[in-house]
């Protein structure tokens, strides 16, 4: 089953994990990734990120990525949740959860989904700092490199 969600409200990763676990033991391996708003330790630190997206297109991109992951690896359940709006430091932004009979399939699919999400899903991040300033985050070439591993 696929479960792709783009939502404003916070999600609970542990709860999502628990829902996938109840599979009667069909899957030998579960990989969960959470990406969170990181305290950057700057003197004028990041206090929150603001996530904008392209409603409609984003969901389509994510659904296609999940289909592509399913074509490449033997995976059972996929949950992909991405928050939008303002997200405070320490809160989760994104969750990728994959179950599979085999661990390498689960790991590869989860990494693929994150790498491709970062470079192809229509989300944009703005940093808000303690002094009230804000700035759009620039795309990283390291993310492009990570995504191109799968081509």
């Amino acid at each position: 089953m696929n479960k792709v969600r783009v939502q404003h409200k916070a999600f609970c990763a542990a709860q999502e994990y628990q829902a996938v676990v109840d599979d009667g033991g069909a899957n030998g391996a579960i990989v969960m990734f959470t990406g969170r708003v990181r305290a950057d330790g700057a003197s004028n630190p990041v206090t929150a990120l603001e996530l904008e997206h392209y409603p409609g297109m984003t969901e389509q991109v994510l659904e296609r990525l999940v289909l592509e992951a399913r074509a490449r690896w033997q995976i059972t359940e996929v949950r992909l949740i991405h928050r939008v709006g303002k997200i405070a430091v320490g809160e989760d932004i994104v969750l990728v959860l994959v179950s599979s009979a085999h661990r390498q399939q689960a790991f590869s699919a989860a990494e693929f989904l994150m790498d491709k999400l970062k470079t192809t899903a229509t989300f944009w991040k703005k940093e808000h700092r303690l002094d009230g300033s804000s700035k759009w985050v620039e795309a990283k070439t390291s993310d492009d490199a990570a995504a191109s591993r799968w081509d």
């Binding site: 904008e52 999400l117 970062k118 470079t119 989300f123 944009w124 795309a139």
Partner: protein
């Protein structure tokens, strides 16, 4: 008409979420951008300074992609989610 959407820094700097553009025959995405640039120096400056990506009807397309009446064209900087 073509419905044009702007996102993120592009939306903010243009001070515009969306607008309608007349669709001329044989028009492609970069023609639409030239058209938008003609709206004034601020528009020209923003497009000159932004690495601009395009999606037509919610699918990524190159700037050479032809546009048709009724299309939804979205313009935005490189994505930074996750």
């Amino acid at each position: 008409m073509i419905r044009v959407l702007f996102f993120a820094s592009l939306r903010e700097r243009l001070g515009c979420d969306a607008l309608e553009l007349a669709c001329s025959p044989g028009m492609c995405v970069s023609d639409a951008i030239v058209e938008l640039e003609s709206r004034g120096p601020q528009w020209r400056e923003v497009f000159a300074e932004t690495q601009c990506l395009a999606a037509a009807n919610q699918t990524m397309v190159p700037l050479s992609h032809p546009l048709n009446d009724g299309d939804e064209l979205a313009l935005f900087p490189p994505v930074t989610g996750g």
